[in-house]
Symmetry: C2
Subunit: 370 residues, 2 copies
Amino acid sequence: MKFELLTKDPTTRARRGRLHTAHGVIETPVFMPVGTQATVKSMMPEQLRELEVEILLCNSYHLFLRPGYETIAKLGGLHQFMGWDRPILTDSGGYQVFSLSTLRNISDDGVQFQSHLDGSSHFLGPETAIEIQKGLGSDIMMVLDDCLAYPATHFEADKSMKRSLTWASRCRNHFQKIGNQNQALFGIVQGGIYPDLRKESAERLVGMDFPGYAIGGLAVGEPKPVMYETIEQVEPHLPEDKPRYLMGVGTPADLAEGVARGVDMFDCVMPTRHARNGWLFTSGGHIVIKHAKYKDDPNPIDASCQCPVCRTYSRAYLRHLFIANEILSSVLNTVHNLHFYLDTMRRIRQFIELHHFEEFLTEMRRTGAH
Amino acid sequence: MKFELLTKDPTTRARRGRLHTAHGVIETPVFMPVGTQATVKSMMPEQLRELEVEILLCNSYHLFLRPGYETIAKLGGLHQFMGWDRPILTDSGGYQVFSLSTLRNISDDGVQFQSHLDGSSHFLGPETAIEIQKGLGSDIMMVLDDCLAYPATHFEADKSMKRSLTWASRCRNHFQKIGNQNQALFGIVQGGIYPDLRKESAERLVGMDFPGYAIGGLAVGEPKPVMYETIEQVEPHLPEDKPRYLMGVGTPADLAEGVARGVDMFDCVMPTRHARNGWLFTSGGHIVIKHAKYKDDPNPIDASCQCPVCRTYSRAYLRHLFIANEILSSVLNTVHNLHFYLDTMRRIRQFIELHHFEEFLTEMRRTGAH
């Protein structure tokens, strides 16, 4: 994997880059739609290609439990399994173990947990996390990290960060033993909201020389300013020639704020999950499609949107599908919301190329399109 | 609307025709997928076009209750509302009033009923049925008929058939008053399983000179041989130069049996509903995709199928999507099942053109692909 830094915005920390992977080139900054169970909910891969999705994120935890990574490996890996020939990033499974499973028993070795599906008992340690992701065959793998709850004391955050460092090192060692050159492993900076811990985490991870670095442990309940500040604290400690990935973030405004602070990659369930709940993004803010005022509305979701849904369907039809609980409601809403996110990223990349990203940021802050 | 009879099979009653409508030409025999609530469940219109769907059926009852035919009319009609520019057939709403609603009060004037959605009270009579379908703007409208339960006595069937005739006449009169030349109204032959009643119904409807005739009241629980016999009894009384439509039928084998008895048009929820339940049609019979034996199965649903799903996805992936309750399961299964039905009809048309339909029929009876 190779990262090219193409240009930098002169007045912000925004960067325009290009990430070369075994399954193709990714233009950064990039938004990665989430395909939890080897499918971006309601989307066919060809629809994602038409939307110009460059890379997907899939969740190791879910695929580990069902259908099992050995099954997917036997069937040729995740790309073949789900019919997606562009890049895939997988998380380590850690975050879902901490957020979805029950009866966790955490030690320095890893986490013993019970499946949220059937209560069955499983173990996830650094080496397992690598085995799973190798089996899935993702282009970018993530180290296993200890996921800290918010709020946490400095003591707790320090302990958790140090455990994450140990796991990162073990992941790296196991990856060097069993990984192949078509896969890359990213480190994850932890340390809660404490600048000294974030600095230590970043520096020690950089010492291990990963091909990319994620900022983890954000968007877990902390105030927005704290999230932005934490990114600002971490960023100077990360090497300029490696991609930076802000995990699980966020609203369109968050993407712009992240980019302004030097982030290259984002993932979030927001566009797809909100779509299924009838919450639709527009250039003038969001609309909730079930509202009665859209019953006879012949207008598209967003008159300035060029997506296939806005070119064809009225709010009245989309409201009808939502109220009638039709599957097509999820499909069309997802197409629109993903287009909104991907188009936001396209515009962000253009503004950086023109060295006018601050203009975009100012406009985003003014309209608050989220 | 114009119907061309292109050729007839020499050894069966199968016909190859072409129906010209305001929204395009339909090659017959044709299968019409069902788009109950102004959407073929889980399908985007472009997917239906790619599958070469020629005409859809939509349900007046559902659209009358939600979002209302006045709303759809105001938004430019059903074609524009749902983004489908090819022909649409609408039923009268009668069948659903009889099967879905509660507290019905039937008189010679029509049916008072309560909505299955919210219990609200509504009236459907012959004139209303025409008003609704005119508002929807379908290419082919159906007369309101009295839907007889199975089994029924000769007395009940006679009374119901005669009421249906009266309603057909009133529908025709109202249609002549308010309909436009882009819409056609079909009559519906009733009479239960009684040959004398079916004959009377057919002859008197033909006397009213409809541009097409449906055979109604079948596939309501009667044995298959009785259904086939009833078609055989009705068919000779229908004019050769008008299309014949067998309502609500059926399995792939039923389609072939219907074609062999002179039927030109079919509709059924079977391919789409079965798809959502994981029941998939194949040339060697059906498969139930949730079965554990498909967990690691790298093969497509049907190796001889050319549909986009069989060209890309394994049974293992489709099983995973079904078990994980993913929306994409419904989408992919629906694409496959609809392709199976539409491909069956394409092959039927080819065999009729070659005057070898009996070969197809024999093969269908042998493999029993349903």
